[in-house]
């Protein structure tokens, strides 16, 4: 994984000093809260309902054990002993004091981490496939480009006061696990006939109040032009994106209002007008970065692991875990082990300091010291020997980390909702917990098969409900929380936005409603047909009937 050189280190250290100074000016009253807000946000510090929240960047979701151990340390020393992994592969701490923040940032800088641009109207932490560098279907590891974008976008002087936040996602695999079609900019790697790399550039996707699938503005952008082209897009957005209404300020609205063709023409004109010498992706810099992402020293192993197969045959629980939580690795004898942070009735994405240490320790012992955070709010050990899977599972199981539900009904994405967030209109966590309990029977979850349930506590859609196979949106009607249900969303390469089924439900009725939807699917599905495919074939009608006909 990427390691800071002396310049990265100096940069982050100076940034901490800068923030320390800004915070002390705020505490002394020299800066007003209005003036301080964008400064603290650009360092990841939010003011929530009960306390400050600090969101720490996990660039492209990659962590070392040392870094994860430091997050555990922060959770215990400055928070309440746990942290919350987010849908943008970051981690946030919900009970932070302003006075402690600079010290926390210093501690992070020691392990080459920061909170730069995890918030605010700037280019946010770049996200990618949580299986990058490991997945069997991958063309190439997208993280070197992710790192390139991270560095280019860090404290970019032209693009730090954008109309609104800006999110970039990168994928190097045909099966899109990075949701690139619902990002402000999505980048997809392709190879041409000559084997050269080029990037498909999608713009204007997004969720929030106005969910949109991004449009492709370039099919195959040569890699060395990537940063220059991103600058052209950013400039068009910075100049012409709406600033009169924050709900219409994302780039998707600009693309929509101009129309995709006119928007593309503006970007191309800006691109053609500008000198590119300074923004060319230099081969030697890309190579320097790529060297850090060189594959670990894999052993030559047989594809078949006797240890693994025996354990699987002997232990049913382990076999169930393997079925959902273990994915194919591109190297024989290795596997990707997904660690679910969705125990029955738990808070999606939460991990205690002890759990973080357990995963860090496993990574050190078994996974070349690498951990990933997924945008589904889970953790991943990306490179483990199949021979070691049983030993890993035993440790996870002893620490409440072996929920066998990756991609199933229990693997719910949820935003913090009204329990923490000042924007929320309803609670998300208790809804996630009640659905998780309702579907606690693992055999049933496996019987239902792949199912994404996403929950947001307000229309800003941090829980990505629009792209859940089943989406749940918490709203407020005259002081009462109620929940709207959408069906048919997906953030994959065949992305789609879910359709609202009908009137909403009270919180306590949501598990019943979800159960009716699932039962309708089970009654109608063809052999081997997954939920999303069945919905796409059947349409909303049978689900509507099941939900509303009786009433």
């Amino acid at each position: 994984m990427y390691r800071y050189d002396e310049f990265d280190r100096q940069f982050v250290t100076e940034r901490v000093a800068q923030f320390r100074d800004q915070a002390s000016r705020r505490l002394s009253g020299a800066l007003t809260e209005d003036e301080f807000r964008p400064l603290r946000l650009m360092n990841g510090l939010y003011l929530q309902l009960h306390a400050y929240m600090l969101r720490i960047a996990v660039p492209y979701g990659t962590l070392s054990s040392r870094q994860l151990n430091t997050l555990a340390f922060i959770a215990e020393k400055w928070d309440r002993g746990y942290g919350h992994f987010t849908t943008r592969q970051n981690i946030q701490f919900n009970w932070i004091k302003l006075e402690d923040t600079a010290d926390i940032l210093s501690k992070l800088a020691e392990v080459e981490m920061h909170a730069i641009q995890t918030s605010g109207n700037c280019i946010r932490n770049v996200t990618t496939d949580q299986w990058a560098g490991a997945a069997a279907d991958e063309i190439a590891d997208p993280r070197p480009v992710g790192e390139l974008v991270r560095q280019w976008s860090s404290l970019h002087p032209e693009f730090s006061y954008l109309p609104r936040k800006f999110k970039i996602a990168v994928t190097g695999a045909p099966n899109d696990r990075a949701a690139v079609k619902v990002h402000d900019i999505g980048l997809r790697l392709h190879l041409n006939d000559k084997g050269e790399r080029g990037w498909e550039v999608l713009v204007g996707g997004g969720l929030g109040r106005t969910p949109v699938i991004g449009v492709t503005v370039r099919d195959f952008l040569p890699e060395h032009e990537l940063i220059a082209y991103l600058e052209a897009i950013m400039r068009v957005y910075n100049l012409y994106g709406r600033r009169d209404n924050k709900y219409k300020a994302r780039i998707k609205i600009l693309v929509h209002e101009l129309g995709a063709d006119k928007f593309r023409a503006e970007v191309e004109a800006e691109y053609a007008r500008r000198p590119h010498a300074d923004t060319k992706v230099e081969e030697r810099e890309l190579q320097r970065i790529s060297a850090y992402f060189a594959p670990p020293k894999f052993e030559k192993l047989p594809r078949w692991s006797a240890t693994f197969e025996e354990a699987r045959a002997r232990n049913k629980e382990f076999a169930a875990w393997v079925k959902t939580n273990v994915a194919a690795h591109r190297i024989d004898g290795y596997a990707i082990a997904n660690v679910s942070l969705k125990p029955e009735g738990g808070i999606p994405g939460d991990a205690t300091a002890d759990q973080m240490r357990v995963v860090a320790d496993l990574a050190q012992r078994y996974a070349f010291d690498e951990i990933r955070v997924s945008h589904h709010q889970n953790l991943v050990l990306p490179h483990v020997r199949r021979d070691d899977l049983f030993a890993i599972w035993k440790v996870l199981n002893a620490n409440g980390l072996a929920a066998s539900n990756i991609g199933l009904a229990g693997d719910i994405i949820a935003c913090p909702g009204l329990d923490y967030c000042s924007l929320a209109t309803a609670r998300s966590i208790p809804i996630a917990q009640s659905i998780s309990r309702r579907f606690a029977d693992l055999n049933r979850q496996h019987e239902i098969g792949p199912l994404r349930i996403n929950i947001s506590g307000c229309i800003n859609a941090c829980g990505h409900h629009h792209v859940g196979h089943i989406g749940i949106l918490g709203l407020d009607k005259k002081g009462e929380e109620y929940y709207q249900i959408t069906l048919g969303g997906s953030s994959s390469e065949s992305a789609s936005i879910g359709t609202i089924l009908g009137p909403g439900f009270a919180g306590e009725d949501v598990p019943d409603a979800i159960e009716k939807i699932v039962n309708t699917y089970l009654a109608h599905r063809q052999p081997g047909e997954e939920f999303l495919a069945a919905y796409r074939r059947l349409g909303a009608q049978p689900f509507k009937e099941a939900l509303y006909a009786a009433a």
Binding site: H156, F159, Y161, R235, N238, R243, A277, D278
Partner: protein
């Protein structure tokens, strides 16, 4: 209003005139962009230097014709969170303008270093913050990841530091 320029605080000697204000016979004057368009022919003959207050919504290409005569371009920050002028500043430098480029309006110390990098070289600073705070804030970061931007006050580019052994990087024609 005092100005921050070249690392020191100086007074503003330009005379700002509005759309309808009478024009002085001589002296360095700054006019709104609309007036520049309307009175361009007579303004070219003005006895003194000429500056313009540009807008946030007009296109920079429209300034090309006037550039040789302009000695000051003022870009507005109606609020410090409105970042359009950062892009306008870079565009104005990219089309070859080399004289004074001023940030006006809601300019705060913690933004000045970004502004310097995109090509601003003077700042309306008001009297809320001491000179010390302004000067300190304009040197907060000694390194930047981006290439080819303006590097006043000793700021270095990570790129050139990192690749020192590589061939020397060509300066942008407008840099400086």
């Amino acid at each position: 209003m005092p100005l921050l320029k070249n690392g020191s605080i100086i007074s503003d000697d330009w005379i700002t005139i509005g759309l309808e204000d009478p024009r002085p016979e001589s002296g360095d004057i700054v006019v709104p962009y609309a007036r520049l368009l309307k009175e361009w022919e007579s303004l070219t003959d003005h006895d003194g230097r000429l500056g313009v207050i540009f807008t946030n919504i007009d296109r920079v290409e429209a300034l090309t014709l006037f550039l040789p005569r302009l000695a000051l371009i003022v870009l507005p920050f109606p609020s410090f969170t409105d970042g359009r002028a950062y892009s306008l500043a870079r565009q104005i430098r990219e089309i070859g303008y080399t004289r004074e480029l001023r940030a006006a309006g809601n300019v705060l110390p913690d933004q000045v270093q970004f502004m310097l990098q995109v090509g601003f070289d003077s700042f309306e600073i008001g009297d809320r913050f001491s000179a010390d705070i302004w000067l300190k804030a304009s040197r907060q970061m000694s390194l930047a990841y981006q290439r080819g931007l303006f590097r006043p006050l000793g700021q270095q580019e990570v790129w050139s530091e990192r690749h020192r052994e590589a061939e020397p990087w060509l300066e942008q024609p407008h840099a400086g």
